[in-house]
């Protein structure tokens, strides 16, 4: 894996809000076909880091490389153009619209245009949405169902489907399983595996370490705006959880000053 170029590489990202230093120089890379768990306590900087990647925030310092090339991401549109999609915690769906309309919201297929009026091609959008739902093995009878008639799991599936409908190369998921039943969580995790199988990179922000353990390949732990761990997911769940929690609360730190000093001492 180390031989390949990461698909996304964030280098030395810094961001402050007033006096609060939310990110103190974070490096993060994600590879194609990889599920990266991003964990940390509240206010560790996970969401801020992902909002930098999705174009919601401009970083104070640092750079982002996509496929080894430096890119400038200043808005959600820029981010989308690079194939980066975000699935928001509260699903970000319009419940009064149907599944197809939500999948294509803001990116409707236009048949023809007169001045500012852009006439949609509903048939094409419905067909595409149907294919997408089938491809992701999402259990929804009709793409004409309004989202308000769907279960929580189905809504999350639509939100994820919507993110990847347009050739996404990286999907960022912010707590995708937080509000779901156990059965629905299983479905979402299956979806993440499906994305991985399609060579998509997934960044999974989650408080549920068992989810990260189950589908993650690698886990990055943030604490107080710094990366404190970056390691493969391995071992058994109990040990994994204990270790990650140790990083989260500050008992362990792979990138701290002491750790670095002791490594240098060991080498010399």
């Amino acid at each position: 894996m180390a031989e390949r170029t990461p698909f996304v590489e964030m280098q030395n990202i810094k961001k402050h809000f007033g006096a609060v230093q939310a990110l103190r120089g974070v490096d993060l890379e994600v590879y194609r076909g990889e599920v990266l768990g991003l964990v940390g306590d509240n206010a560790a900087g996970k969401s801020t880091l992902m909002k930098v990647l999705s174009g919601a925030y401009l970083p104070d310092e640092g750079q982002i490389l996509i496929d080894g090339k430096r890119v400038h991401i200043a808005s959600p549109e820029d981010s989308r153009r690079q194939g980066i999609e975000m699935v928001y915690q509260d699903f970000a769906l319009a419940n009064n619209l149907d599944v197809a309309a939500n999948v294509f919201l803001g990116r409707e297929v236009v048949r023809w245009q007169v001045g500012p009026l852009r006439v949609m091609n509903k048939r094409v959008m419905e067909d595409h949405a149907r294919n997408l739902i089938d491809r992701l093995k999402i259990d929804i009878n009709s793409v004409r169902l309004k989202v308000e008639n769907l279960s929580g799991g189905q809504r999350q599936a639509v939100a994820i489907g919507r993110a990847i409908a347009f050739d996404a190369k990286v999907v960022i998921m912010d707590e995708p399983t937080a509000a779901l039943s156990v059965a629905a969580i299983g479905k979402v995790l299956d979806l993440i595996r499906e994305l991985k199988a399609q060579d998509c990179a997934v960044i999974l922000i989650s408080h549920r370490l068992e989810d990260v353990y189950e589908v993650g390949d690698r886990v990055v732990v943030l604490r107080q705006g710094r990366k404190v761990a970056d390691r493969p997911v391995s071992g058994d769940l109990h040990k994994f959880r204990e270790e990650i929690v140790a990083y989260m609360v500050g008992a362990k730190d792979d990138f701290g000053l002491e750790t670095v000093q002791s490594t240098i001492a060991e080498r010399s």
């Binding site: 699903f91 009064n96 619209l97 919201l105 803001g106 990116r107 852009r118 949609m120 308000e148």
Partner: protein
């Protein structure tokens, strides 16, 4: 066949009917249309000789046109989760304006009388365009306050509700601006398209044709265009719309501007219909328009509502009002009845909504 079988059969048949039936049978407007037809049949039965008479139908159609046009504007705003309380007063102000411009010119409109010395009338068509644009500008003004300054729509349009009424009286010093009876402007609101001949020829008021045209245009925008879909999306979940890359402020500005234009259109039509621009016209029309949208199945929480429903809502009110006049129901009682209809409509809609979730 025993009873058990019969019941079982009926429920499977119902289910089959529900899954196989064409779209229009699921449409929210269907029950409203049935209620409308029932009301029509009732008044037709009660007053068979008068109700369907062409002159009476024309009266009903003018009523539907007036409140239907206002309600379409209201619909566009309400779907996005807003409200426009200004339209009643705006019909007065725009009616007064169009009359003043056509008869006396811009020099007769107070803040401009110091800038322009001219008292020469402005051509009719130009006056109408100016007043429609004025309505759109007032709508944009509302949209600006709602989107950029985050003022609740209720408040900013309430401000215009007061200001427009005041301005209408101020411009005319309280007097109506009366058109000469031979003015061609009067054709707009008083003229009809006659279909057929003889005593029973159908008279379709021009106002009603304007309503149909506006309804078709807005229905097309709402159903077929991205703008329409974005209007619904803004009302359904404004944050979702925003992160989907929709320019939510522009969508809401469009809604308020449309309501402003439609308010001005009604003001012009009423001025033509009455033969004068009157500062007292259109009192409480905004509430009637909102009632029509609600009876037509529009949710005041936003995200729901159709042009067809809103027209049916206006039509139910129009036919009931007209029918009660024909039956000599006291006008006080008429308002009570229409109030009851509104309450029933909203309660039924809420009940239906809760059951379907």
């Amino acid at each position: 066949m025993d009873i058990q079988d019969a019941v079982g059969n009926r429920s499977t048949m119902l289910r089959r009917l529900k899954t196989r039936s064409p779209d229009f049978l699921h449409a929210r407007e269907l029950p409203i249309a049935i209620v409308f037809l029932a009301i029509c049949v009732f008044f037709w039965q009660e007053k068979p000789d008068v109700f369907l008479r062409p002159a009476n139908l024309a009266i009903i159609m003018r009523f539907i046109a007036t409140f239907g046009l206002l309600a379409i504007g209201e619909l566009l705003v309400i779907i996005t989760g807003g409200i426009d309380l200004s339209v009643g007063s705006m019909t007065a102000l725009t009616g007064v304006l169009v009359a003043t411009l056509i008869l006396k010119g811009i020099g007769a409109v107070p803040p401009f009388d110091r800038l322009f010395d001219s008292t020469s009338p402005i051509p009719m068509l130009l006056s109408i365009i100016i007043v429609l644009a004025f309505g759109g500008l007032i709508g944009l003004w509302h949209g600006l306050f709602v989107t950029k300054l985050r003022i609740p729509p209720f408040i900013i349009t309430l401000g215009t509700w007061l200001m427009a009424r005041g301005a209408a009286a101020y411009i005319t010093r309280g007097y109506p601006v009366v058109f000469p009876s031979d003015s061609s402007f009067l054709n707009l609101g008083q003229g009809t398209l006659v279909l057929g001949d003889g005593k029973n020829a159908l008279q379709i008021p021009n106002m009603f044709i304007v309503l149909v045209a506006a309804a078709l245009l807005v229905a097309f925008i709402l159903n077929a265009t991205t703008l329409g879909r974005h209007i619904y999306a803004v009302g359904g979940n404004i944050e979702a719309a925003r992160v989907s890359g929709i320019n939510v402020d522009r969508v809401r500005m469009f809604s308020y501007a449309s309501s402003g234009v439609l308010g001005a259109l009604v003001g012009i039509l009423l001025a033509s219909r009455l033969g004068q621009g009157t500062p007292t016209v259109g009192t409480a029309y905004e509430l009637w328009a909102i009632a029509a949208t609600v009876i037509g199945g529009t949710s005041l929480f936003g995200g729901e509502g159709t042009v067809l429903g809103v027209i049916l809502g206006a039509a139910i009110m129009g036919v009931m009002q007209n029918g009660m006049v024909l039956l000599n129901v006291s006008s006080y009682l008429q308002e009570i009845v229409l109030g009851v209809v509104l309450v029933i409509a909203v309660t039924w809609d809420m009940w239906r909504r809760r059951r379907s979730v």
